[in-house]
């Protein structure tokens, strides 16, 4: 009998121990039946529209606009007008005050936004409440402070705004990604046209009300909802000076091709297949928590998720055993329940993609483990999943799944860990778990990834640059480095 089993048998809690429901109230959110497009400070009636739902219940939440190429054109014109009629020539200290206002209003209305984020995106309320919203507000607060200090960030370079920025964001952190895009763009004196993800438009639309309260001049921020066609129209629009895209590597490549020869500035934050490397001298229980946070945080809908676990062979068995045990305690279900750890999969399309890759993993010969859990009948759900017996060539070890699915692989030496970890076209993030300081720094140096978390995982901060190597994209968001994509220099 292992030590873990002994501890488990001695555990004082009964095995059928359950939680009472602890739902966060929905009352704080007042949704309109329909939303238009937010252009030039006005709500514009869309010519086409679609229903946006809650992925945890499939309930229709609102009807939103499907922005057409004509709508995009109107939005770009509004952004251009706002850029030229004041915003770009406003003193940085005044631009800063608008951003500070936005940060404060987001803090004041954070519960409302958190509930709506969980409702429309399916993520657990404790994540939208404790991660998405505080970070979104912090991003505005951080970049507000830069608006009148750009000359110090880029000495001797005469930084100037680029113009109109077209920004396309994903559905995994809707409001947070909006803040990563809008805050630095505005701080640098640009105006923006932002397209939220097709499945998660609602917090971006509610954000327009924050802009109203902040009295941001009309046209400085324009929100055009819609699917990929709307995004493509924005990328193709000749009046846009800069494109910032966060999303899949395939779409990122298509955008890079599309912009070839146009001279437009481009930043891409694309996919990942992060290695989370666990050495036998790590603090094992902390590592298990880090692994769980690395791949099950936000249902694994995280581009930097630690989706490949590399366990040193000498601790492979106890690590996997502890991990499986820990998975049993994860609570999957209602995103608005304050005790929920893993919420709903964002869309049926994403669920199908996860199912396809999981089936491929089983077919290729990997061994699947899912803890016993009851999934709700309505909505899109996928149980936390661990694959063992995974070869590096398997699709589940190569392709980004973007779901709560972990592939466990093994290694013997640090050199082997580095070689296997880097054996991917991606290079967004990586994790290292060891108590040996010199090894952490050696690993951090060798791993080809833009973010390395040592003895932690999935930490984010407005001051900390984020972005990828290789096919995970280029450009950085966050920190001083996150200003550069929104500036041109009159050197």
């Amino acid at each position: 009998m292992t030590e873990i089993q002994r501890k488990h048998d001695r555990a004082p809690v009964p095995k059928d121990w359950t939680y009472e429901p602890a739902p966060e109230s929905r009352d704080v959110v007042k949704l309109r039946e329909r939303y238009g497009l937010f252009i030039g400070g006005q709500w514009i009636e869309p010519s086409e529209s679609y229903e946006t739902i809650s992925p945890s219940s499939e309930e229709v939440l609102a009807i939103v606009g499907q922005g057409t190429a004509k709508d995009v054109d109107t939005a770009v014109a509004a952004a251009r007008a706002a850029f030229e009629n004041g915003w770009s020539s406003l003193p940085g200290s005044e631009r800063a005050k608008y951003l500070f206002r936005i940060a404060r209003i987001l803090q004041e209305r954070s519960r409302e936004f958190a509930v709506l984020e969980s409702l429309n995106g399916g993520k657990p309320i404790k994540e939208s409440r404790d991660v998405d919203l505080p970070l979104a507000a912090a991003h505005f607060f951080y970049y507000a402070g830069w608006a009148d200090k750009l000359e110090y960030a880029f000495p001797n370079r005469r930084p100037r705004p680029v113009g109109v920025a077209g920004q396309i964001i994903p559905w995994n952190f809707p409001l947070l990604m909006l803040s990563w895009k809008i805050a630095p763009a505005l701080a640098c004196g640009n105006t923006v046209v932002l397209k939220p993800a097709e499945t998660t438009p609602l917090t971006a639309l509610l954000f327009c009300d924050v802009l109203r309260q902040a009295e941001l001049p009309p046209g400085v921020v324009n929100i055009v909802t819609g699917d990929g066609r709307t995004g493509a129209a924005l990328v193709e629009h000749p009046g846009v000076d800069k494109i910032a895209f966060t999303g899949s590597t395939d779409v990122g490549k298509a955008i890079q091709r599309q912009l070839a020869g146009t001279g437009k500035k481009l930043t891409l934050e694309l996919g990942g297949k992060a290695a989370n490397i666990v050495f036998d001298d790590c603090a094992l229980d902390q590592a298990v928590e880090g692994i769980v946070n690395g791949i099950y945080f936000n249902q694994g809908h995280v581009c930097c998720a630690g989706s490949r676990l590399f366990a040193q062979e000498s601790i492979y068995e106890p690590l996997v055993e502890k991990l499986k045990k820990r998975l049993e305690t994860l609570r999957v279900g209602d995103p608005l329940d304050k005790n929920t750890d893993v919420g709903a999969i964002n869309s049926r399309m994403q669920l199908d993609r996860i199912k396809e890759l999981v089936a491929a993993g089983q077919e290729e010969g990997a061994e699947i483990y899912q803890p016993p859990c009851v999934l709700p009948e309505k909505g899109y759900w996928f149980a936390p999943t661990v694959f063992t017996n995974v070869a590096q060539s398997y699709r589940i070890a190569q392709e980004e799944i973007f779901g709560p699915v972990l592939s466990v692989l093994t290694f013997r030496t640090p050199e082997e860990a580095v070689e296997k970890a880097n054996n991917t076209p991606y290079g967004l993030s990586a994790g290292v778990w060891t108590e040996k300081g010199s090894r952490i720094l050696w690993m951090a140096n060798k791993l080809r990834a833009g973010v390395v978390w040592a003895n932690t995982f999935n930490r984010f901060d407005p001051t900390s640059p984020f972005g990828g190597y290789k096919e995970s994209g280029f450009g950085r968001e966050g920190g001083l480095h996150g200003l550069e994509p929104y500036l041109r220099f009159e050197e």
Binding site: A260, L268, V451, V452, R459, S464, G473
Partner: protein, 265 residues
């Protein structure tokens, strides 16, 4: 009786060696027969660059700076020869000074481009610049030496390795530069110089899956097509200028890595 001079065969520079083009082709430029590199030569050069890059990046910044400074010494000693192969002495001197200027950046970049980040939590967090990897350079036609030096130094000082296509019209200075590089302690494969036709070699470099960044300085009308090809592996595309000198030129060929670690007892 006057002595008949020994004429030089102008060859490629790949992996620290001076091979002819595997295609056996040459073309005439600057009154000489110059190697006319093939697509296979490009692939060989990329392979050599990839193999050499980790060692170059792992060298201490102080060492990289000294090696590049040594290159300036090697050119200085051959100033007269170089002067005959480009627009003259002034171009050579500016090239030497530019190399010295960039050499001094090797051990200063991380402090100017990186730093620690004051995150809101018990973590130590810092950002360091790292080399992008293998960089392709399409050198401008003019000026033949300074243009090439201007585009070579930024990736090199940051720790990347380079495959460069020399000025098509005036390639002789590049071959001479290769000889200076070969005697300056730059490890073999860190710089690879090809002479040939950009229209033929550019697309091979732009679509090569093991090239991480491409400098389109000399691409002329080809830029849009090369940018399109570059998207296949999300290459960093740099539209370099033939005469520029700044640390931001270097940062175009750097990646930023951010490392987090908890603070605790």
């Amino acid at each position: 009786m006057t002595r008949l001079p020994v004429k030089k065969t102008y060859k490629l520079f790949i992996g620290g060696a001076f091979p002819r083009s595997e295609s056996g082709r040459t073309y005439e430029a600057d009154g000489q027969n110059v190697a006319h590199a093939s697509r296979k030569d490009v692939r060989d050069a990329v392979k050599a660059a990839r193999a050499a890059q980790p060692g170059w990046a792992a060298a201490t910044a102080y060492n990289r700076g000294q090696v590049l400074y040594r290159l300036a010494e090697m050119i200085e000693a051959r100033t007269s020869e170089f002067a005959e192969l480009c627009t003259g002495r002034e171009e050579v001197e500016r090239s030497i000074d530019r190399i010295v200027w960039y050499a001094g950046w090797a051990d200063k970049l991380p402090q100017v481009l990186g730093g620690s980040n004051p995150v809101a939590g018990p973590y130590f967090n810092f950002t360091v610049p790292e080399p992008t990897g293998v960089v392709a350079v399409l050198a401008p036609d003019e000026p033949p030496l300074l243009g090439l030096v201007t585009r070579l130094m930024p990736p090199l000082v940051g720790g990347s390795s380079v495959v460069a296509v020399a000025s098509e019209a005036h390639p002789i200075a590049a071959v001479e530069l290769a000889e200076a590089i070969a005697t300056s302690d730059v490890p073999g494969g860190v710089v690879n110089l090809l002479t040939g036709f950009r229209a033929e070699l550019g697309p091979v470099l732009a679509s090569h899956m093991d090239v991480n960044a491409i400098d389109l300085c000399g691409a002329d009308g080809q830029s849009a097509e090369l940018e399109r090809l570059s998207a296949e592996n999300v290459k960093r595309v740099v539209r370099g200028r033939a005469d520029a000198q700044s640390p931001w030129e270097i940062s175009s060929f750097l990646e930023l890595k951010t490392v987090w670690h908890p603070i605790g007892q």
